[in-house]
Symmetry: C2
Subunit: 343 residues, 2 copies
DNA sequence: ACGGATATCCAAAGCGCTTTGGGAGGAAAG
DNA sequence: CTTTCCTCCCAAAGCGCTTTGGATATCCGT
């Protein structure tokens, strides 16, 4: 049924060499011939056999990732969404995954095994922590990798894709300050992850620039579940000098926060303003909240896709992508932010 | 660095044929010779090249799965845990994954593409629903598969691994009845998934056998998050004729339920009894609950591993595993169940 | 002692692709 | 008109494994 290179070459009256070259973009083939080849590919539905390519090129055509087995990580919506982006893109290029579950303490060994197995061409790393030791490890492994996020307190000489968390929360905070808010709270992700650290930093910077200070009592760190959002918000509302605005590190947290606010009988956007970071989770759209949410937006799925793209391009040496990318998050103002209520 | 078959054969003064046969368990090789070969493998650390094996055998050495992109599925802890089991086992045998994210409406096409790609030797299916159309689809695809769970209202002629959900909740319910409980509630998973359906059935059966009835007001279906557990339990407690015992379909649900009970000032195991189904999530152990939880236990991770094992054995035609398995869940009595309180 | 099993082993032919090392033919250069 | 240089194409050699189709040697019964 499926044709192979040899048959395709015969069909065209060409040699396998030429057909192979035409397909792989080598220069020493006539433009017209190349067109004929491409046309024939379309007609026959020819797809190169990956196993043969692997054997011939020594490439594995697959990317490895260590799946962390730890509380609140593999389990969370955000991970699934990111994985979806990665998977979508990988499948397009007919790339495989090697998913290696590993407890944090074995991670190092797992990476090494994976790299040594010859079964993956590249590795992927996420959930960056401050001074993350895994980066040095990966560098020593002589296998390409991309990290999602950035470490803190490390040299910056490794490939990454991150969003400008500092900038996003700086912008969000400044918007709130401009609206007159003085008491602003933060419901953040786990405190050891760098994105949380940076978001808090962005917020603090904006406050300081406007002569305000970050009140530590108004900052909560936790796994990003709706439950934690609910509890944090409840506690904030009980605070003697309750905040008039709150930043959430995820729409999932915001979900819980909104619930707490409603329960307290307050009006979002009037009594209290809310801005959430939106990872663009398909089942949780900020515009569908009862009061549409002002957000800093950056798609996690897109990030997953982009990382796959870069990893694959790196393996195939096709296309040229920047080694380090910092995506800006868009600040999208909706109804959940309004002027600070008068005392 | 790494030796290949040829080198290994030379080293041993044998032909590649013989070495290959020795390794793959063919009979036409002297026992002593085989030992020598195995010894040499140990010494050299020889590992067959998977790409070459793929090419020679036509097998892909990888298993495909469609990752559902839908609310409360890919996102949940249970999925992660299951995936971990699958991944662990697959990696042991040096198998790959092809993770194909897909929205429910494209699932069919995704499966077909995956099967046709020649990139996977077997498929895996989960989140069974009643009358699940995907089973007939997979059967028509002429590619081996195993489903996790069972459909309802379908012929039973397909390979599956399921746990005896009916039995588990039957047992749990009977225990509660024996303890004198008459009003028993159920906090269940989504109502369209077969495990939920069966658990409710098991519960109903036990009740009926003891002259009791399932009160529909005491049954909630929802995604299995701690939040939903909390809310359901809260509502049950407000019920005019509140239950004295509750079954939860997951320890995650139980987490929320326990919170609601504590908040209401009730004592677990005395004022109200609780039994949860325990998927053996490493970060949520029933014995670590403030009042250790009585559970029906069956490890999700083990199920993932077992499915990988079966799939792999099927591909390799090594080992003989039953085509259909129904695992019993163990009823483990801890402190959360006690005699029904006197009115 | 001999034909025929039986037990072990081997050479060689693929699997489908990439890549090396030319070769033919025409254009540009001398 | 020869020499050199491109341009475009091809034959063939792998990549590392499995598997077919024998070989060779041993051992059996008769």
């Amino acid at each position: 049924m499926a044709v192979n290179l040899k048959q395709l070459a015969e069909l065209l009256g060409l040699s396998q060499t030429t057909v192979s070259r035409a397909l792989n973009g080598y220069p020493e083939v006539n433009a017209e011939t190349r067109q004929r080849v491409l046309q024939a590919v379309r007609e026959t539905g020819y797809r190169p056999n990956r196993a043969a390519q692997r054997l011939a090129t020594g490439k594995a055509y697959s990317i490895g990732m260590v799946m962390p087995i730890a509380a609140g990580i593999d389990s969370d919506v955000h991970f699934g969404e990111f994985l979806a982006g990665l998977g979508e893109e990988a499948v397009k290029h007919d790339f495989h995954f090697v998913l290696n579950p590993s407890a944090p303490e074995d991670e190092e060994a797992t990476f090494q095994r994976l790299a040594a197995s010859g079964n993956v061409d590249a590795l992927f790393l996420a959930y960056m922590r401050a001074n993350d030791p895994r980066i040095a490890m990966l560098k020593s492994l002589s296998i390409p990798f991309v990290v999602h996020g950035r470490s803190i307190g490390e040299t910056r000489d490794y490939p990454f894709l991150d969003i400008d968390n500092t900038g996003a929360f700086y912008d969000a905070t400044r918007l709130l300050i401009q609206l007159g808010h003085q008491r602003i709270a933060l419901i953040n992700g786990p405190d050891y992850l760098t994105f949380s650290i940076r978001r808090m930093k962005g917020m603090a910077r904006a406050l300081v620039e406007h002569g305000l200070n970050l009140d530590e009592a108004l900052v909560h760190h936790s796994l990003m579940t709706d439950e934690h959002g609910y509890r944090s918000m409840q506690r904030f509302l009980q605070h003697p000098d309750a905040p008039t605005a709150v930043l959430c590190s995820s729409t999932v947290l915001a979900l819980g926060a909104v619930r707490a606010i409603n329960q307290a009988g307050l009006a979002i956007g009037r009594d209290i303003s809310l801005i959430a970071h939106d990872d663009v989770l398909p089942m949780l759209k900020p515009e569908n909240f009862s009061v549409p949410l002002t957000t800093t937006r950056s798609s996690l799925r897109a990030a997953g896709g982009r990382i796959a793209t870069r990893l694959i391009a790196g393996i195939l040496k096709s296309g040229d992508y920047p080694d380090q990318e910092l995506w800006r998050a868009e600040l999208i103002v909706r109804a959940s932010t309004g002027p600070a209520p008068q005392k």
